[in-house]
């Protein structure tokens, strides 16, 4: 709990923005510089879902791939705070906000991870709370008052 995981940085290029938008988010303001300038975004910016996907990738590399992840349950309070413009470099951190044993499936633990994604100027671009299942070391211990930490992760290491 309270443990912080630092993300490796990713630079979002114009090509990446257009490639993602063509497949998943073909609004004109994600595909065309002119349309983007005239939109609320004020210039070519990544799809919010691309920013979210890249953030997921960053947390998978830095954290989920090192724990016995058993799949995602969803997320809440996803906020796109600022557009990620072409050429921006995003990075950030995740904090373990809550850790508990699943009530319906006591062989699993539920970890809640708070994301704080920022651009190269340190401005927040996205935040959310991810809920993920993790396998527990001792599946029989479901009745324990305080569950053991069902994950094993190095401190503060970026994905590199």
């Amino acid at each position: 709990m309270g443990e912080r995981i630092e993300f490796a940085a990713i630079t979002v290029t114009k090509e990446m923005i257009i490639e993602f938008a063509t497949e998943f988010d073909p609004f004109p303001f994600h595909l065309d510089e002119d349309a983007a300038r005239k939109s609320l975004l004020g210039g070519l910016a990544s799809s919010g879902w691309q920013t979210a996907g890249l953030s997921l990738r960053m947390v998978t590399d830095a954290f989920l791939s090192r724990v016995a992840s058993a799949g995602g349950l969803g997320f809440s309070d996803l906020k796109w705070k600022r557009p990620v413009m072409k050429g921006d470099t995003i990075s950030g951190s995740a904090t373990i906000a809550e850790l508990r044993r699943s009530r319906s499936h006591p062989q699993w633990g539920i970890v809640l991870v708070d994301f704080d994604v920022r651009n190269q100027k340190g401005q927040p671009v996205m935040s959310m709370r991810l809920a993920n299942l993790v396998e527990t070391r001792d599946p029989q211990a479901g009745t324990m008052q305080t569950p053991m930490q069902p994950y094993d992760v190095e401190h503060g290491g970026g994905a590199g």
Binding site: E23, L40, G74
Partner: protein, 185 residues
């Protein structure tokens, strides 16, 4: 929404269409954004509690988003065909909830439905409204694979700028004065 903010009826459901997920696209998405073994490799995934390859929940979500963008585009063309001016959708400020309820496996067909559950003018961006949308994704067995509560911007048709804002804009157009105002604010 391609309807203007003012014309949108709350609680009306919009079918967005269906998508059948194939193994190769599940793996391709996972390699880029969610490289966990049960999204990447059928043999490895067979040993997971999913007992087989499953799509990243995020993949099912971005496909849902794509279906929405396509549905809006089609509706926009239809309205233009009728000689009407369609409404304008803006970017989204966020997602309140997203619950992955059942895994999506290769060959599954997911059908997406959008429902506007509420609307109000934006406090932060004058001239725009906020739409509160529910998105339900259901597989061919009728099981919900995810339920989402999304927020989107939609342009107001009947918006008239407040006098104060129009005055300020007029002032910033006077040469020299605009710069001065910008420095002071």
């Amino acid at each position: 929404m391609t309807r203007w903010f003012e014309d949108i009826t709350v609680d009306e459901a919009f079918p967005l269409g269906s998508h059948t997920f194939e193994a190769d696209e599940i793996v391709r998405f996972a390699r880029q954004y969610d490289p966990q073994y049960f999204h990447l490799d059928a043999d490895g995934a067979a040993h997971s509690h999913f007992r087989g390859l499953v799509a990243s929940g995020w993949h099912t979500v971005v496909i849902g988003h794509r279906k929405m963008v396509d549905a809006l585009g089609a509706e926009e063309e239809r309205l233009r065909g009728l000689g009407q001016e369609p409404g304008v959708s803006g970017p989204s400020p966020g997602v309140n909830r997203m619950d992955f309820k059942a895994p999506v496996r290769p060959g599954d067909t997911v059908t997406y439905t959008l429902t506007v559950t509420g609307k109000r003018p934006s406090n932060s961006i004058p001239g725009w409204g906020l739409l509160f949308n529910s998105l339900d994704a259901v597989n061919q067995h009728g099981e919900t694979v995810y339920h989402a509560e999304l927020v989107g911007f939609s342009k107001l048709r009947d918006y008239r700028k407040p006098l104060r804002l129009r005055l300020l804009e007029a002032l910033t157009k006077i040469p020299g004065l605009g710069k001065l105002l910008a420095q002071r604010s």
